[in-house]
């Protein structure tokens, strides 16, 4: 009972802190809208226009919000000793991880909602025959991305190295997945490589429901990949969680997590 109460209260505290931080609000809510207008400017004369690029933009917003939001919170709180203070209470690592994930879910949902509403009303973007399908697909994407942020947050040494490590992961996952550029612009071998990236499957599923107007059953494969990816990454993150930076990561555990993720995505790429 106290575990559930502690998790909800910690998630609430995280959200309050986000809402009271001007920089957090700018990065969470306003920055994605800059991307929206940038995309609108770039793709206004391309066939399909913004409606064709909206799946990619949603993927960028969902991935950057879930991945960086979770990772930076973990690193900052570990570095400044807040996690250590929580450690001397009965709260467990699960409490911290789930609360962080809940906060990320709410903030990413808010930024996606704002982006969607502006795209709908100001840019006349077409969301396909059923908006609820878009919401469900996005939920699968956020589920897949949050644990990747947790893994990054657990492994990054400090806030000086976290952005560098984060960007090394972020840009390939965005540019090679078809989120930032249409994937048919990529050479064949890179298109094959992109099947190993979780972001690719969110772009694919969103294109299915938004651009081609397909139902969710036709998106079963990418949805399954994102669902399984989330479960595996959440599970692997348990090996890496650290209450304080001085706790050693251990080469074996890092190797197990990176190897586990690599194996998962290689298998996914072969099967798809």
């Amino acid at each position: 009972m106290s575990a559930m109460r502690g998790t909800l209260e910690l998630a609430r505290a995280y959200l309050l802190q986000t809402m009271r931080s001007r920089s957090a609000l700018i990065w969470t809510l306003l920055f994605p809208q800059v991307w929206l207008f940038l995309f609108a400017l770039i793709y206004r004369n391309v066939p399909g226009g913004m409606s064709a690029r909206m799946p990619g933009l949603f993927t960028i917003t969902a991935f950057s919000g879930a991945f960086f939001g979770v990772a930076y919170t973990m690193v900052t709180e570990r570095e400044n000793g807040i996690l250590r203070r929580i450690w001397v209470t009965p709260a467990t690592a699960t409490t911290v991880v789930v609360a962080n994930a809940m906060r990320s879910l709410v903030t990413v949902a808010a930024s996606l909602l704002m982006q969607g509403l502006i795209a709908w009303f100001a840019l006349d973007v077409d969301f396909g025959p059923a908006v609820w399908r878009v919401v469900i697909v996005l939920a699968f994407g956020v589920w897949a991305f949050i644990p990747l942020g947790l893994i990054m947050g657990s492994t990054a040494k400090d806030m000086r190295s976290a952005p560098a490590v984060g960007n090394m992961i972020f840009f390939p996952l965005i540019f090679l997945s078809g989120a930032a550029l249409p994937s048919d612009m990529l050479p064949g071998w890179l298109q094959s490589f992109s099947r190993m990236l979780p972001t690719t499957y969110l772009v694919q599923a969103l294109e299915g429901v938004m651009v081609r107007g397909e139902g969710l059953t036709l998106q079963a494969l990418p949805l399954a990949v994102m669902l399984i990816s989330g479960f595996v990454a959440f599970g692997l993150n348990r090996l890496l969680f650290r209450w304080e930076s001085t706790q050693p990561l251990g080469a074996k555990r890092v190797g197990a997590v990176l190897g586990g993720l690599a194996l998962l995505y290689v298998v996914v790429a072969l099967l798809t």
Binding site: M1, L10, Q17, I82, R84, V88, T89, P90, T92
Partner: protein
């Protein structure tokens, strides 16, 4: 028994932070843990809190093994860490409400705010609180579930005298409620004033353990006696009972003596037999600080960085990480 350790040992690589600590701490009272930097104080309290694994030996806190039963133990202990960052963007009330949620039972937040004199700051963001107020809030976070054992790591470090006094009052009030308070400090006069029992660590070992008065009694230090007399004063009777004259400046005399009572008795005789008038007198007995300086071989610590186990742990961690790959993309 609140705390029991047997042959408790902790090593960080080649560094022995604790070398066979045996402790029995009964419930109730204030226990001060003193020692120079690197003595092992923080390592010891972090083992008691379940944050560090001992290398060898036995430890029991409130009947629990801190490593095996850490979650259950933490329902019964309240901790204030040496360096705690409190979330800046939460109010004092919200911070306490958050920490209350981690426990099976907790006291009303308003009651805790009253007890740590922060009722007027309940709606203030913690980033606007002073150092003393933040430290009192950290104590409030430790009290929120009304624990029987409180472990404070340098709770008054860096505070001004007024803020320290307020914390002393809170600690004494906790003692009045029958709680056991174990705290580390570098302020020896603070330990002398507050503690029922003082444990001194040096190089990972307990080198003294007793009440402040008992420990002062073990001091080899001598009492200092200052006298101001008018008239032809002959100090021979004082010297005869062991007083040593240190300085004479006009009518002002400075003596040291191992047995100050005998000197005072002799002084009474002098005042009756000699045509002198005593115009002023001051006496200082040895303090806990005198005893501390006698018993601790290197009062400043061999390695100031090694004061907290964090530094040693950090060194150990970097060794371990040196053998692991950087977990990048």
């Amino acid at each position: 028994m609140s705390i029991r350790t047997r042959r408790l040992t902790k090593t960080y690589g080649a560094t022995e932070a604790l070398r066979g600590i045996d402790l029995d701490i009964e419930p109730g009272g204030i226990i001060g843990l003193l020692g120079p930097n690197g003595a092992g104080k923080t390592t010891l309290v972090e083992i008691l809190e379940g944050l560090r694994d001992p290398t060898a030996g036995e430890v029991s806190v409130m009947g629990f093994d801190p490593m095996r039963d850490s979650i259950a133990l933490r329902q019964h202990i309240g901790a204030q860490l040496q360096a705690t960052h409190i979330p800046d963007e939460l109010t004092a009330f919200e911070v306490l409400r958050l920490f209350a949620a981690f426990y099976e039972r907790s006291l009303p937040v308003d009651e805790i705010l009253e007890r740590v004199n922060l009722a007027g700051k309940a709606r203030e963001l913690t980033r606007n609180l002073s150092g003393g107020q933040k430290q009192r809030l950290a104590i409030g976070m430790a009290l929120i579930h009304d624990p029987d054992l409180l472990i404070f790591d340098e709770p008054t470090s860096g505070l001004d005298p007024a803020a320290r006094r307020q914390l002393h009052e809170i600690i004494l009030e906790l003692k009045g409620r029958g709680r056991t308070i174990l705290f580390t400090t570098h302020y020896i006069e603070e330990a002398e004033k507050l503690c029922d029992r003082v444990i001194i660590l040096n190089r990972g070992r307990v080198v003294a353990d007793g009440t402040p008065l008992d420990l002062i009694g073990l001091s080899e230090g001598k009492s200092t006696i200052f006298l101001d007399v008018e008239g032809p004063f002959d100090p021979a009777p004082l010297l005869a009972v062991g007083a040593e004259e240190q300085e004479r400046r006009g009518s002002h005399y400075h003596f040291v003596a191992a047995d100050p009572t005998a000197v005072i008795v002799a002084l009474g005789e002098v005042l009756r037999s000699q045509p002198v008038t005593l115009t002023d007198m001051n006496m200082h007995r040895p303090t806990l600080e005198d005893f501390y300086l006698e018993i601790v071989d290197d009062p400043e610590g061999a390695d100031p960085e090694a004061d907290d186990s964090e530094a040693a742990e950090r060194a150990a961690a970097s060794d371990a990480e040196a053998t692991s790959e950087e977990p990048g993309p």
